[in-house]
């Protein structure tokens, strides 16, 4: 991603609030990507929702990725509905006078973004793949549309902007010699009755040993062609240090949890490497993976539509190709001494 020629001083001085995605005290990678992206469009300041303020390694990481200040809002985001999250975020927007807010583009955040933009009168862009400034300092976003077959560049014409960025859109980069950010606490009272809805119950899914699907640099996906046996898919994912994904057919069949579904009605992924095995490449599935860096497909039908978008296609049986690939990857790694 490039920032345009010479962003005006006003633009580079503008506070850009970055809502930090974190798991307990661990900052998740997409938050670091957002901070990196924010540096190209202004002066990033982090917003941390959580019982405790970030400290130690978490605070340092936010600093090394460009956050000059961390705004702490003492509420548990897991206990809030989207309208309430927006209400809490408004406290930070008002306190800083920030005109731009960046979030990670999850379903929950898209809803919170909508409420926040509604109240700020802001322009709203979700599932963005990049942000930059035009020569006049206006915010420009890049998005993929129509199952990744089109690229849109849009300018935000409102004074405020709320942008939800996809994970893996911008690689996280550190700033040399960045100081540990200052933490500013803001009083918050989350109105339990925004709109009158209540969160009756929230069950966190157990954290997997594998990287999370949206954040992973490598995703190995199984479809109907696995016939229900995901072991070869999982094994290759582990050999590559990747996450496991699935098509809707595979999740509907109950072969793997619904949270693994990639596509228009599931998770959107943009890993460096996508491997699809026994996946036909239906448009609904493509919508969630077509912006991946390199696409590899293994399918025994040479006519499968996924071959139209694959960088590397293998017409073959996944039950032989996957284990062979995994074994060879492990062997090559051992050979190069990084096993």
């Amino acid at each position: 991603m490039t920032s345009s020629g010479s962003p005006s001083d006003v633009a580079s001085g503008d506070v850009v609030l970055v809502v930090v995605d974190h798991q307990g005290t661990t900052v998740r990678n997409p938050a670091l990507e957002l901070l990196t992206a924010a540096r190209a469009i202004g002066r990033p300041e982090a917003v941390w929702l959580g019982g405790d303020a970030p400290a130690g390694a978490a605070l340092e990481t936010l600093g090394t990725h460009g956050a000059g200040v961390v705004h702490h809002l003492a509420v548990d985001p897991g206990g809030l509905l989207p309208a309430q999250v927006a209400q809490v975020l408004r406290v930070a927007v008002e306190a800083t006078g920030a005109r731009t807010v960046l979030l990670t583009s999850t379903f929950e955040n898209k809803e919170a973004s909508a409420h926040l933009a509604f109240h700020l009168g802001a322009g709203l862009v979700v599932d963005a793949a990049g942000v930059e400034r035009d020569d006049d300092g206006a915010l420009v976003t890049v998005q993929q549309a129509f199952a990744g077959t089109w690229t849109l560049r849009s300018v935000v014409t409102a004074e405020h902007a709320v942008v939800a960025l996809k994970a893996n859109a911008v690689p996280a980069e550190v700033v040399d010699g960045a100081p540990v950010p200052q933490v500013v606490a803001h009083p918050v009272v989350a109105d339990a009755s925004v709109g009158g809805a209540t969160l009756v119950e929230r069950t966190e899914r157990p954290v997997s040993e594998r990287p999370s699907l949206t954040e992973a640099q490598v995703v190995v996906v199984g479809g109907r062609g696995t016939n229900g046996d995901f072991s070869a898919v999982e094994d290759l994912a582990d050999a590559l240090g990747g996450a496991v994904g699935a098509t809707r057919v595979a999740t509907d069949e109950g072969w793997i949890g619904h949270e693994a579904q990639i596509g228009q009605t599931g998770v959107t992924v943009s890993p460096r490497l996508y491997v699809g095995a026994g996946v036909s490449g239906a448009v609904h599935h493509r919508g969630g993976m077509q912006s991946s860096g390199t696409i590899v497909a293994i399918n025994n039908d040479p006519e499968a539509p996924i071959f139209e978008i694959a960088d590397y296609g293998i017409v073959g049986d996944l039950t032989t190709v996957l284990p062979q690939t995994a074994a060879e990857v492990r062997r090559l790694r051992a050979e190069s001494g990084e096993a």
Binding site: G78, L81, P82, A83, T106, F107, K110, E111, S113, A114, H115, F118, H119, G121, G123, L124, V126, A145, F146, G148, T149, T151, L152, R153, S154, V156, T157, A158, G195, G196, A197, T198, L199, V200, E201, R202, T203, E204, R205, S212, L213, T214, L240, T265, V283, T294, A310, D311, Y312, G313, I314, V315, D317, V321, P323, Q324, T325, E328, R331, R333
Partner: protein, 262 residues
């Protein structure tokens, strides 16, 4: 119960979808359909009306063709339909869309209050998934979105929603806005009887003036974002297709290493 179900007319996902030179979704190809995910919304609305009694009104905002979307909802079993159509709406963003849909819901509530607004989880053209939240904000009601399961009981709607890292149960007192996912039900297919009956069902057309919405606040003029450029993605280069002769897995591993993907 009075239920309004919002349905959108979108270009068929299986067709060659395009943007116009102005960066708007090209809706002139004539291959538009009811947004597939709104079939789930219609199904949810019909099932609730069947279980609790009441009426289902299908609501759409869009150009002339959009009437097809509410027609399809009528064929599935909705009782009546409203089509908001006005030249000033071209180029509307999600805020204008929500404001106009909310104005139509309020107008529909003048004779008997609307208890529930049901929407799909996303329109398959823009895939924003934000109109339901904006509708709730416009109407000042509670929301229970992305329902994989829903039920109305004790004057509230209760939904289960599956998010990336958690599953939630949300209770929203009526009136409320709910959006439903494609996991929530299996949409019924209109039968011959339904198709015939739909011909006699009323479709009311409202303009912005009918709704008292200021034309300057909607359409391209009122939009808070403007598309600068829409470009088709160039085809991927250097694509390789091999047929497994027994060593394709080994070759793939070499390719991955060569391209520093491992």
């Amino acid at each position: 119960m009075k239920i309004v179900v919002c349905v959108k007319h979108v270009p068929d996902v299986q067709a060659d979808r395009r943007f116009t030179d102005d960066g708007l979704v090209d809706r002139t190809q004539g291959d538009g359909t009811l947004n597939e995910l709104d079939e789930n919304a219609v199904e949810a609305a019909l099932a609730l009306a069947e279980a609790h009694g009441g009426e289902v009104v299908a609501l759409t905002m869009g150009p002339a063709d959009a009437e097809d979307a509410v027609r399809r909802a009528l064929q599935m079993g909705a009782d009546q339909a409203v089509h908001v159509q006005d030249d000033a709406l071209a180029g509307s963003d999600v805020f204008a869309t929500a404001a106009v849909l909310a104005a139509a819901v309020r107008r529909l509530g003048e004779d008997a209050p609307v208890d529930l607004v049901v929407t799909g989880m996303a329109a398959l053209d823009g895939l924003m998934s934000v109109v339901p939240s904006l509708l709730a904000a416009e109407l000042g009601t509670s929301q229970a979105t992305l329902a994989a399961e829903l039920a109305v009981e004790d004057g509230a709607v209760r939904v289960r929603r599956d998010l990336d890292d958690a599953t939630e149960v949300v209770r929203a007192p009526l009136p409320a806005v709910v959006s439903v996912t494609d996991q929530s039900n299996q949409p019924r297919y209109p039968n011959f009887k339904g198709i015939m009956a739909a011909r006699k069902k009323p479709v009311t057309t409202w303009s912005l003036a009918d709704l008292g919405v200021d034309a300057g606040a909607v359409g391209a003029a009122g939009a808070r974002t403007r598309v600068l450029q829409a470009t088709p993605r160039p085809p991927r280069e250097n694509r390789v297709l091999v047929t497994d002769d027994g060593g394709a897995g080994t070759q793939l591993a070499a390719y991955l290493v060569q391209n520093r993907l491992v």
